[in-house]
């Protein structure tokens, strides 16, 4: 007689090792898993709530400067180093992982106006109020050696900005005019003028490396080609732009930080009108830097906040502020797209997360999967009022909140007229 016994193939339920997760046989019959939309909605809502709860962007503050931080530079080959120059001419090199200063040097008399690291990462250039350009070694001097620049170029006028070519030994400075320098020479290879105004910042295009753009004090932005004898084009705005930044992934877009509280993204081929106007700041925008992925940029403002904008969004997706942070003068987005560094008036450099609620460090596979799923859920249900409301809620200091309100009222009134 045949006896029927329940039997299962152990392959279906036995783990190979005890470190494997338990096998869960699944039945995808939709009738067994009803209310999929409602359940996913609940999950999305929870995910957004948790995102807000875990949004703790502030990581560390680096103190050590004895005056306001005026400029910063990322190391071109090393993620953990940062260079910062202050208003008293002091330059500091920081180790970000240890969060400590590794080297201090008196670079200039007066402000350090600009720092830039050479593409190879072995030396860096600084300009200051003492009309000099100095090249320094990245390595700190050995025992007994004096801290001395490799080269010093004495200019005729004050230099206000500096940028280095991405691949060649060429750098550009700005001041009374925009100069292109060869590293080997002590006089500029080219100098561009257009009118008599002074310039506040100059930037090389990281993609089309021969192009430059500068912000002039006559409210204009001027484009140059290093190979041409004359500047290319100029756009005059209603107020002065402080700095600009090229999109590192999209050759012809750049964004400038303007005195009129907003940022403008331009297509360099068509300067008649900006592509996007990014507004949310309530005071002059002082600095801007693109994320290395070219998807977003961060801006620093006189209103003591930092905002992150999507490159094609008119409003910010994030606002960072702390009680102690004063006017933010310079800002950088780290080269691994994870962190934001801000230097402010009150002598501190702050380290922020670029994604406020992101978990730092190495994620386990399942953690990452869950994060991806939650992200997609949030995206999917982003238009639902509850999700939207929670996701977009931000705390603001009282005065900025009221100022923003006031500005909104003013804008409305102007529009009505």
């Amino acid at each position: 007689m045949k006896v029927k016994v329940l039997s299962r193939n152990p392959d279906d339920y036995v783990r190979e090792t005890k470190y494997d997760i338990q096998r869960v046989p699944r039945n995808y019959d939709p009738s067994l898993h009803p209310f999929e939309v409602n359940r996913e909605y609940a999950r999305a809502l929870n995910a957004t709530k948790l995102e807000r709860v875990f949004a703790k962007p502030f990581l560390a503050s680096l103190d050590g400067h004895r005056d306001g931080v005026n400029c910063m530079a990322k190391h071109s080959t090393n993620l953990s180093s940062l260079l910062s120059g202050s208003c008293d001419g002091e330059l500091k090199i920081w180790n970000l992982t240890k969060r400590e200063c590794v080297r201090t040097l008196q670079a200039h008399e007066g402000f350090v106006r600009g720092i830039v690291v050479r593409f190879c990462g072995t030396s860096f250039f600084t300009v200051g109020d003492d009309k000099t350009i100095k090249q320094w070694k990245m390595q700190s001097p050995g025992y007994g050696e004096e801290e001395e620049p490799l080269n010093t170029i004495l200019g005729k006028t004050v230099f206000t900005g500096l940028d280095h070519h991405r691949r060649e030994g060429v750098f550009a400075t700005c001041g009374q005019q925009v100069d292109i320098w060869d590293e080997q020479r002590s006089s500029p290879v080219r100098s561009f003028t257009w009118g008599v105004d002074s310039f506040s910042s100059v930037r090389f295009n990281p993609v089309e490396t021969e192009l430059l753009a500068s912000c002039a004090s006559d409210r204009s932005i001027v484009l140059y080609d290093m190979r041409e004898a004359t500047p290319l084009k100029k756009v005059v705005m209603t107020m002065r732009s402080n700095t600009l930044c090229w999109n590192p992934m999209e050759a012809y877009y750049f964004t400038c930080a303007n005195e009129d509280y907003s940022l403008y993204t331009y297509d360099m081929r068509n300067l008649e009108q900006p592509v996007v106007v990014h507004m949310d700041h309530v005071s002059a925008v002082l600095d801007v830097d693109f994320s290395p992925t070219g998807k977003e940029f961060v801006s620093a403002s006189f209103d003591k906040t930092i905002r992150i904008f999507p490159k094609d969004g008119g409003h910010s997706r994030e606002v960072y502020h702390t009680k102690r942070m004063q006017h933010v003068i310079c800002i950088k987005w780290s080269a691994d797209n994870k962190y934001i560094l801000s230097g402010s008036d009150e002598m501190n450099i702050r380290l922020w997360k670029a994604n406020a609620s992101e978990k730092l460090g190495v994620l386990a596979h399942r953690e990452r999967e869950a994060a991806n799923y939650n992200q997609k859920l949030k995206e999917k249900y982003q238009h639902h009022p509850q999700v939207k409301r929670i996701a977009r809620h931000r705390h603001l200091p009282k005065n900025i909140y009221h100022q923003a309100k006031e500005l909104r009222v003013m804008r409305e009134a102007r529009r009505r007229k």
Partner: protein, 736 residues
């Protein structure tokens, strides 16, 4: 002439970079011309006209002389040569007030210059004034800008590609991980010692690989003949076919084991019908085969008639016959037996069933029912032992012929035959799959509804003009409250509720007043809103789970107990009549929902008014608006249910009130919401695909700005279109 040219160029800035290629070329020529001009001027100043570069002359044209001259007159002071005599300013006229004549300068000029001076003397035309410095600079600028703009525009395709990409992985140019093939490592190395050279000579002579030390030419050829991917696809398809076959076999086996008589009966009936049908077809298509079949049938009938089966003469039948008097079942069984006999002995088409004689036959027939035809095809001589090789999906005429031939040749070349058949079968399988793949091609479109939709959105945001970037960011809702815990988010919601609740109330008050209007309006409004019910287009089916009966049969005592309990409950709740309460409530709701008549009569107008006087009936009738027909309630025919047709406020809070930005209609939006993403509903692979993050960065890697390589890459990608085959390669794993 120069002037004319410059005018042409001045117009240029108006032209976009997207003008045709022809105009671009023109532009470039122009720009070269202009770029050459300053150099020409410099030459002029330094060396005099006779040394002018002939190429430059060509480029600049006959006008160059004029331009050069204009500059010379202004700038000559800067000349560093110690040649005072040469300068026209150095030439002194004799006596005061006298002018310099051309002849004074003549002796110093060369022959060529003299000739030119003579021609100049003859012509009376005055020269055009040169352009001012600002003007020329502007021209240079414009030309240079146009050049740069076109240069930069070549990035457009890359940028667009990146915008549309499902996923971007940074840093951009990552080297593939894993060990490098040895040929790459060895590539730089060369034979130096005589021994090495000798070895290489031998290798060369024997056509052995040198630079690529893994593959011989023959091997390479074989690789070319069938790529790895193709082989993979082939293998996968064969695998699937085998799996299918074994599945069929298993099914057939299971089927065979079913012992239910009823099942068998039904089964056989169906089969018979099927056979009849087949036979009918055969008569039409293949009369010979039909005849044979008929013969078979006849044989079956004869056998049946000869045998004593179904004649009710066996042991079992006799025992039944005894019982038949009292037992209806037995009678029935006997009847059935006779019926079967009758059926089987009937002549021709109706008496087809000949395989019921013994169990084994029957079983085989059963398998026939379930299995596809190929399983039961005549087995080939070669591979009887190998169950895998029996499978055939479709059969073509030619192959039939082949097989028949092979049958004639019989087992002479067993092994070879086996091989051939294998190949044949494989090919057939592959063909089958090719067809299926084509079908799937269409199906994929449906499958990837979500990704398609995202692409639609992206397509919307990415419009032909570069300037129009659509801004879909909304302002942050900045407030003075800080979210620190989950409770805070709850509070946020609550404040939201209190905010939104008010307008709802107003709406309801209005609804009471003018019922009809609002009802239509409401309908409209409802249409405008997206309701959760509509968003969930697929009705959630109620899962019916068979409940295990938990109560045992109730004995009489228990019944009594239960009655007692019921009585107790009745006693306890004697006061409240639940049913009537419910009915009352329902009536109330109905009444509230009914539109009411509105009396607008004002006393005193057109007649006497005052205390105790009522407006006349006529007037009242006149100013009384009749109520509109009440809409039939959904629960009108359901006495036990109250269905509220009013909006549920608690749900509206979570509903989307208006169509969000990138979507064009509700269907689009709803379709994005409809399909779930989680692993409760999707397989692991689809979840992975659906939850792919937009941007992936590597931990601790520096992301360099985009380089020239990307441009080349994108151009290559453009050159080779995305083929269906490629898709198959990537997804073959999913299909199987």
């Amino acid at each position: 002439m120069k002037l004319k040219k410059s005018k042409k160029i001045k117009k240029r800035p108006g032209i976009n970079d997207e003008t045709s290629a022809v105009s671009d070329e023109m532009q470039e020529e122009d720009s070269e011309d202009i770029a050459a001009v300053p150099d020409a001027i410099r030459y002029d100043e330094d060396e005099g006209e006779e040394d002018l570069n002939p190429e430059l002359k060509e480029q600049v044209g006959p006008g160059h002389r004029l331009l050069g001259r204009g500059h010379r007159s202004t700038r000559l002071e800067e000349r560093s040569e110690a040649a005072l005599l040469v300068s026209e300013f150095g030439a002194n006229a004799e006596g005061d007030g006298a002018k310099i004549e051309l002849s004074d300068l003549l002796p110093t000029a060369s022959k060529k210059a003299q000739k030119q001076i003579e021609t100049l003397k003859k012509s009376n035309r005055t020269l055009d004034t040169p352009l001012s410095r600002q003007e020329t600079e502007r021209i240079h600028r414009d030309v240079a800008f146009q050049k740069v703009a076109t240069e930069v525009s070549q990035w457009k395709s890359v940028i667009q590609q990146n915008q549309q990409a499902e996923q971007l992985v940074f840093p951009l140019n990552q080297e593939p991980s894993g060990p490098k093939p040895i040929e790459h490592v060895v590539a730089g190395w060369k034979a130096q010692t005589p021994l090495e050279q000798e070895i290489f000579a031998v290798l060369n002579a024997n056509k052995q690989p040198i630079n690529n030390p893994i593959l011989t030419p023959a091997e390479e050829e074989s690789i070319k003949a069938m790529s790895l991917e193709e082989a993979k696809i082939r293998r996968a398809e064969l695998q699937k076919a085998r799996a299918l076959q074994s599945y069929y076999e298993a099914k057939a086996r299971r089927d065979r084991k079913i012992k239910s008589k009823k099942y068998r009966k039904v089964h056989n009936k169906a089969k018979r019908k099927e056979m009849l049908k087949q036979f009918d077809e055969m008569v039409k298509t293949n009369p010979e085969g039909a005849l044979e079949e008929l013969k078979k049938l006849e044989m079956g009938r004869m056998q049946e008639r000869m045998s004593l089966k179904h004649q009710n003469s066996g042991k079992w039948a006799k025992s039944k016959a005894i019982m038949a008097k009292y037992d209806e079942d037995a009678r029935k069984a006997m009847q059935q037996q006779l019926e079967i006999n009758k059926e089987l002995t009937q002549k021709v088409a109706t008496a087809l069933n000949n395989d019921e004689e013994d169990e084994d036959d029957e079983e085989e027939a059963d398998t026939e029912e379930v299995l596809p035809d190929f399983v039961n095809d005549v087995e080939k001589a070669g591979d009887a032992s190998n169950p895998w090789m029996r499978g055939k999906l479709t059969e073509e005429e030619q192959e039939k012929e082949q097989e028949s031939k092979m049958a004639e040749e019989v087992i002479l070349l067993e092994d070879e035959e086996e091989m051939e058949e294998e190949v044949n079968e494989e090919e057939k399988l592959l063909r089958e799959f090719e067809n299926r793949r084509k079908q799937q091609e269409e199906d994929i479109v449906d499958e990837t509804a979500l990704s398609e939709f995202t692409s639609i959105i992206r397509g919307l945001t990415q419009k032909p003009e570069v300037e129009t970037i659509v801004d879909n960011s909304t302002p942050l809702e900045e407030g003075l409250t800080r979210i620190q815990t989950l409770e805070d988010t709850e509070k946020l919601q609550e404040t939201d509720i209190s905010e939104t609740a008010e307008p709802e109330v107003v709406e309801i008050v209005q609804a009471d007043e003018t019922a009809k209007e609002t009802s239509t309006k409401k309908a409209k409004k409802r249409k405008r809103n997206i309701e959760l019910k509509e968003v969930i287009t697929k009705e959630s089916r109620v899962v019916t789970v068979p409940l295990k009966v938990t109560t045992e049969e109730v004995g009489e005592e228990d019944m009594e107990d239960e009655m007692d309990q019921r009585g107790l409950i009745k006693e306890a709740f004697a006061g409240d009549d639940v049913i009537s309460d419910f009915l009352k409530e329902k009536r109330k709701k109905e009444d509230a929902g009914k539109p009411k008549a509105i009396d607008l009569t004002l006393p005193g107008w057109g007649e006497w008014g005052g205390k105790g006087l009522k407006p006349s009936r006529k007037k009242r009738q006149r100013f009384r608006t009749k109520p509109a027909q009440a809409v039939v309630r959904k629960d009108a025919k359901l006495p036990e249910v109250i269905m509220s047709e009013q909006r549920d406020k608690s749900i509206t809070l979570h509903q989307v009130s208006s169509l969000p930005f990138p979507f064009e209609n509700y269907a689009q939006f709803e379709s994005t919401i409809r399909c779930p993403l989680g692993r409760t509903w999707n397989s692991e692979k689809t979840v992975k695909k659906v939850t792919l993050p937009r941007v992936v960065t590597q931990l601790g890697a520096i992301i360099e700005p985009m380089g020239r390589e990307e441009l080349k890459k994108s151009q290559q990608q453009k050159a080779e279109p995305h083929t269906w085959k490629k898709w198959m390669e990537n997804n073959i794993g999913d299909i199987i």
